[in-house]
């Protein structure tokens, strides 16, 4: 079956954007990604939006961009993995001939905007059980999952810290990254305690910003003459909402289901992956995802990441833009893992930042509190 091609990617300005709202950032990212693809707003057949401060984000962005008769409107909200999930839905729409150009977009003012403490949680009956415990969410909930992993598999805080250190090495080469100064395992362990076993440097940063990914049908992409980065496999699932007590097994995420499915669809195995962009809301998120996607055995994530396996020059380059831990994290990081995967496959970088000869990338989104998982396999066509 025809595979959608990623024709363009872009971020809006990142960091602090006090004069913008979420929609501005999504809109700016969209036009920049279209420009990257050699397209214009008038070419757009539809949008897929999640994470905006609005319950009808696809309609809002369509109006904002003044799209004419959009045929694809996607707003399925499954948290930070929504954007990977969109790749599947849009691929289906394109296979049916319903669209040739669809933009996946995200924008946020998580850091400077109003209402960042607001939450829909109060509308859910489980909140009476969770909020009076005082659990600091999301960090405390992820921390609880990490603690269980440490109990079952002997994973250590030092091993979790290795992920923060390796990710920072990548960030040091990214001028757009919020934190570029190098850190050591001790720096992570000595940073402020947040929710045990997490210290501050185990946690993602908080920023404003947006991102967009332009998907084009194969036919359209050929017309454009862009490098053909194909969406070769997509799978999504969920294990619970946002209530960590309801997570069936805190040491296994939905990635254990979506990884094998997406890899099979793409006809690859984890060994074929040249570069991995894995959602890293916390160090543990990346560690458990490495295991669940099959890059190492279950429970061996800790020893796998020791010694710079995921750092520049390592066996599995991961989060090569600096991840949510060091680059940006405006709330739903999932769009940024797609953007970086595409740039690595296109060979956009120079020097150590470019993963040599990268042909196959995996972009993995995690949403809610380890609740939803979506895996996308991207492949550079010869």
């Amino acid at each position: 079956m025809a595979e959608p091609i990623v024709a363009g990617v872009a971020e809006s300005d990142l960091g602090e954007t006090p004069d913008r709202n979420w929609l501005d950032n999504a809109g700016i990212a969209t036009v920049r990604a279209l420009e990257d693809a050699g397209l214009a707003l008038e070419d757009v057949d539809g949008v897929a939006v999640a994470g905006g401060n609005d319950y009808m984000p696809a309609l809002v962005l369509s109006e904002y961009l003044d799209l004419e008769e959009p045929s694809v409107l996607e707003g399925t909200e499954i948290g930070g993995s929504s954007f990977e999930s969109f790749c599947g839905h849009i691929g289906d729409a394109m296979a049916r001939g319903r669209a040739d150009v669809v933009v996946i977009a995200y924008g946020s003012t998580r850091k400077t905007g109003p209402g960042r403490d607001q939450s829909l949680e109060i509308t859910h009956p489980v909140d009476g059980f969770v909020r009076p415990t005082g659990l600091f969410r999301p960090p405390g909930a992820y921390a609880m999952a990490a603690q269980r992993h440490m109990h079952e598999y002997g994973t250590t805080e030092e091993q979790l810290a290795e992920i923060a250190v390796s990710t920072r090495e990548w960030a040091s080469m990214n001028p757009k990254a919020a934190h570029q100064d190098s850190i050591s395992v001790d720096d992570v362990l000595e940073s402020r305690q947040i929710a045990e076993p997490f210290n501050l440097l185990d946690c993602c940063l908080v920023s404003d910003g947006g991102g967009a990914v332009v998907l084009a049908s194969e036919e359209k992409a050929r017309e454009l003459g862009v490098p053909e980065i194909a969406v070769s496999g997509v799978a999504s699932t969920s294990t619970h909402r946002q209530d960590i007590s309801e997570m069936p097994d805190m040491t296994t995420t939905g990635a254990a289901v979506t990884g094998p499915k997406a890899f099979e669809q793409a006809g690859i195995t984890p060994d074929d992956v040249d570069v991995a962009q894995l959602y890293d809301s916390f160090t543990y998120t990346a560690l458990v995802t490495l295991e669940d996607l099959g890059f190492c055995e279950k429970g061996e994530g800790g020893s796998f990441v020791e010694g710079g396996t995921t750092a520049p020059g390592g066996e599995l380059p991961m989060n090569t833009q600096g991840g949510g831990l060091s680059y940006c994290h405006p709330g739903h990081f999932g769009v940024f893992v797609l953007i970086e995967a595409v740039r690595q496959l296109r060979g956009d970088y120079t020097g150590d930042r470019q993963v040599d000869g990268a042909e196959v990338a995996v972009a993995h989104g995690t949403g809610g509190i380890l609740s939803s998982s979506s895996t996308v396999v991207l492949r550079r066509e010869a």
Partner: protein, 146 residues
């Protein structure tokens, strides 16, 4: 409901500054029982599925309004964290404090504040329920080492 000794209910209405549960729907029965020192969960008569938080449907077979049972109020720490940053208003004087996912003997898990030295907590630690009454309508389950 099966009979078991009610757990102690401590009146903390004057000192509690944290969020309070707002009983509604299937939760009303649950919170009403907490005032009497009873921890309820739902157990489906059709398929035997046990569940918490209360819901209008059984997650095993879809039966509507599965009945409540009284938990023995004992379980173990499935996992936990020690919060050094308060997660809710009214918790800033309490840090550091431990929050656990408690595996009840009857099966379901629930999140709860632990009332003990946070550094003493470990996975598998046996716990029993007590209640802190935080409003006219609800007493929150708070677990202590057994």
């Amino acid at each position: 409901m099966s009979g078991s000794e009610p757990a102690p209910v401590e009146d903390r209405r004057d000192s509690w500054e944290g969020p309070v549960p707002i009983p509604s729907g299937a939760n009303e029965t649950f919170w009403e029982a907490t005032l009497e020192g009873e921890l309820l969960y739902q157990r489906c008569e059709e398929c035997g599925t046990s569940q918490l938080y209360p819901r209008a449907v059984c997650t095993g077979c879809g039966t509507t309004d599965p009945p409540f049972e009284t938990s023995e109020g004992v379980g173990t720490v499935y996992s936990y964290t020690v919060c050094h940053v308060p997660g809710e208003p009214g918790f800033s004087d309490r840090t550091p404090y431990a929050v656990a996912a408690v595996a009840l003997e009857e099966g379901p898990r629930l999140l709860a504040l632990l009332d003990c030295d946070p550094e003493a907590v470990e996975v598998g630690m046996p716990l029993e329920v007590t209640f802190w009454q935080v409003s006219e309508e609800a007493a929150i389950p708070v677990f202590v080492p057994r």
